[in-house]
Symmetry: C2
Subunit: 113 residues, 2 copies
Amino acid sequence: MSNQSKPVYLKLRDMIAAAIIDGRYREGEMLPSVRALAAEQGANPLTVAKAYQQFQNDGLVEVQRGVGMYVAKGAAGVLRQREREEFLKEEWPEIRERMQRLGISPAELMSDA
Amino acid sequence: MSNQSKPVYLKLRDMIAAAIIDGRYREGEMLPSVRALAAEQGANPLTVAKAYQQFQNDGLVEVQRGVGMYVAKGAAGVLRQREREEFLKEEWPEIRERMQRLGISPAELMSDA
DNA sequence: AATAGTGCATCAGTGCCATAATACAGCGCG
DNA sequence: CGCGCTGTATTATGGCACTGATGCACTATT
């Protein structure tokens, strides 16, 4: 679902958020430059910048102009907590309702790791 | 998630599909007319027509020109089966991965009815 | 100073979505 | 027939989000 018709900058945003939460981008470390990530992902630098901007506004990354962007202290925790609440409050109720409608029992989903 | 920035015609499509699966629009029964549903939902008749069209192409509703549209026989089953497969194959893996990342255990969500 | 790397702002182009205003075509009923 | 209800086709238009190209401002390094 997330890899289909979703805007590129949102896919990038989720990708970056996941990397921060998972610790692949560690706190205090430098993030990939706009141009570098753009080249790596085959996207436009501006699109990548737009993805980064969301984190700047929330203070989750600190910008040093002419240098680069760094993961702020505590960003991983804040991000995980925020997404957690968002998931439980906004997304899960609809998912649950949908499963109920489609007759999908929770048991059959728990099997694999 | 489904009620946010999604195009109107897709929201209507999902709404109608849910109604058919739940049996609120029963097989053989007449669907709300394009104009009626448009007025009820505060949407444009053309947008409603666009939503209905998806079902016509799949033969899930039968059109009697000048009369109205009827839910085809077996539409509910086909629809539920199709959405079921789509959910299990496309959506659930990503949901599961996300839950894992956020540290949400499936068990705590399945409890209530 | 020169250079190359950062992020950022501005402007423009493109495509999808939604709407509007009509007009047309088929059916049922009085 | 005449009226009113169906769905459908056409064309045009405005809005909005996404994407993109270019150039500028800033910093570190040499």
